[in-house]
């Protein structure tokens, strides 16, 4: 008899809790993965593919799935720092296998040399080059992300990557190194063996 009471009591308890959890799981359902959106918003959207993924969104998905967050040369250290803060991971130096951080550049087409082959237009991931077949092309400077992808296909090598001059509006103070990072003035302390 006691055993029967015990079984019924525990079953009743479990049933109540089960109903509670079932209700809560309906109420608190989550769709999609909002983390990917937040990562994607931090990435520079150059769509350059230097990370080994076809664009920034696929790389954001890969980071969310656990890939290292230091493969984005256009974003540089600042992007890595922001991603580390967002994801609670440690700061990592830029993975040099995927390229080095550089000053921001934009493509510039030497227009009198352009033969109008449209190859650079097809290569541009952000549609920043305008022009038509047999007509001169040019780059919309504000749209160009400096990804270098148009330089390679040009048959007459008339595209230059020119650094964007730093103006009072675009200058920003360099961020201090994060936890685990070393300032440039760091003096190592020798361990006494």
């Amino acid at each position: 008899m006691t055993i029967l009471t015990a079984i019924i009591a525990l079953l009743a308890l479990a049933a109540v809790f089960g109903a509670l959890l079932g209700y809560a799981s309906e109420k608190l359902k989550v769709e999609g993965d909002p983390v990917v959106d937040q990562i994607d918003a931090i990435l520079p959207q150059t769509q350059c593919g230097q990370c080994g993924h076809p664009g920034c969104r696929p790389y954001a998905e890969a980071i969310a799935a656990g890939e290292e967050h230091n493969k984005c040369p256009p974003g540089g250290e600042q992007t890595i720092q922001e991603l580390s803060d967002l994801l609670g991971r440690d700061f990592l130096p830029l993975d040099e296998e995927h390229g080095e951080e550089d000053v921001k550049r934009v493509a510039y087409i030497r227009e009198d040399e352009c033969i109008g082959c449209t190859k650079c237009i097809q290569a541009c991931p952000v549609d920043a080059i305008i022009g038509a077949a047999q007509k001169m092309h040019t780059v919309i400077e504000d749209e160009c992300t400096g990804c270098d992808l148009c330089v390679e296909p040009c048959p007459v090598d008339c595209i230059d990557m020119v650094p964007v001059e730093e103006t009072l509006e675009s200058w920003h103070r360099e961020r201090p190194p994060g936890v685990g990072g070393r300032p440039e003035t760091y003096i190592p302390v020798e361990n006494l063996a």
Partner: protein
């Protein structure tokens, strides 16, 4: 009122669950790499501890005791804790997907955090267990856990940037730090007696 203040001080400082009673050491060592993560874990654990402390008291007082089923308390409490953790997990996933990702496996592991079961079991061993005293005890235990977890995480952040001798790097210096903190907390013994 004084009674509850005493229970609170006792649970937070004098009988701190982590550093004096050595319960819940897994998240203490596992989630203390960054202060922000530690804060998130503290909040989640605080919620679970307080909720499960109260719920398990209610289950004990309203179900197990009237039916003379006190011997089933451990299994009933584990059920209560599992439900509380599951609820918290759902809520965190909804409210803060990032925190959910950062806490990762440690969130469901609150279920097996022995401090949570410890609080539930120690609760009914008080001289006069009541709803308010179990609430205070659970909250106190949670605050004590949060306090040492955040303190420890802050120290580990400093240690990560410090020039530690090679042989002591990583978990070794962490354990030494935890031991020193524990020694420090033993200084509170004798502050209150209940």
């Amino acid at each position: 009122m004084t009674e509850y203040v005493l229970i609170l001080i006792s649970a937070v400082l004098v009988n701190n669950f982590v550093l004096v009673q050595f319960l819940g050491l897994c998240p203490f060592m596992g989630v203390s790499n960054k202060v922000e993560t530690a804060m998130g874990m503290s909040l989640a654990t605080t919620f679970v501890l307080t909720l499960s402390s109260v719920l398990s008291y209610l289950v004990y007082a309203w179900l197990l005791e009237p039916l003379a089923l006190e011997y089933l308390r451990t299994i009933a409490f584990i059920l209560v804790i599992a439900v509380a953790v599951q609820l918290t997990e759902m809520f965190v996933r909804k409210a803060s997907p990032l925190l959910h990702r950062v806490l990762g496996v440690f969130l469901p592991l609150i279920t097996s955090n022995c401090a949570v079961l410890g609080v539930a079991l120690l609760n009914i061993r008080q001289t006069e267990p009541s709803f308010m005293s179990s609430l205070t005890y659970g909250l106190g235990a949670a605050l004590g856990f949060s306090l040492v977890l955040v303190l420890f995480a802050a120290m580990r952040e400093r240690i990560a940037a410090a020039d530690v001798p090679v042989a002591f790097r990583g978990p070794a210096i962490g354990l030494i730090t935890a031991g020193l903190m524990s020694l420090a907390f033993m200084g509170f013994s004798g502050l209150v007696r209940i």
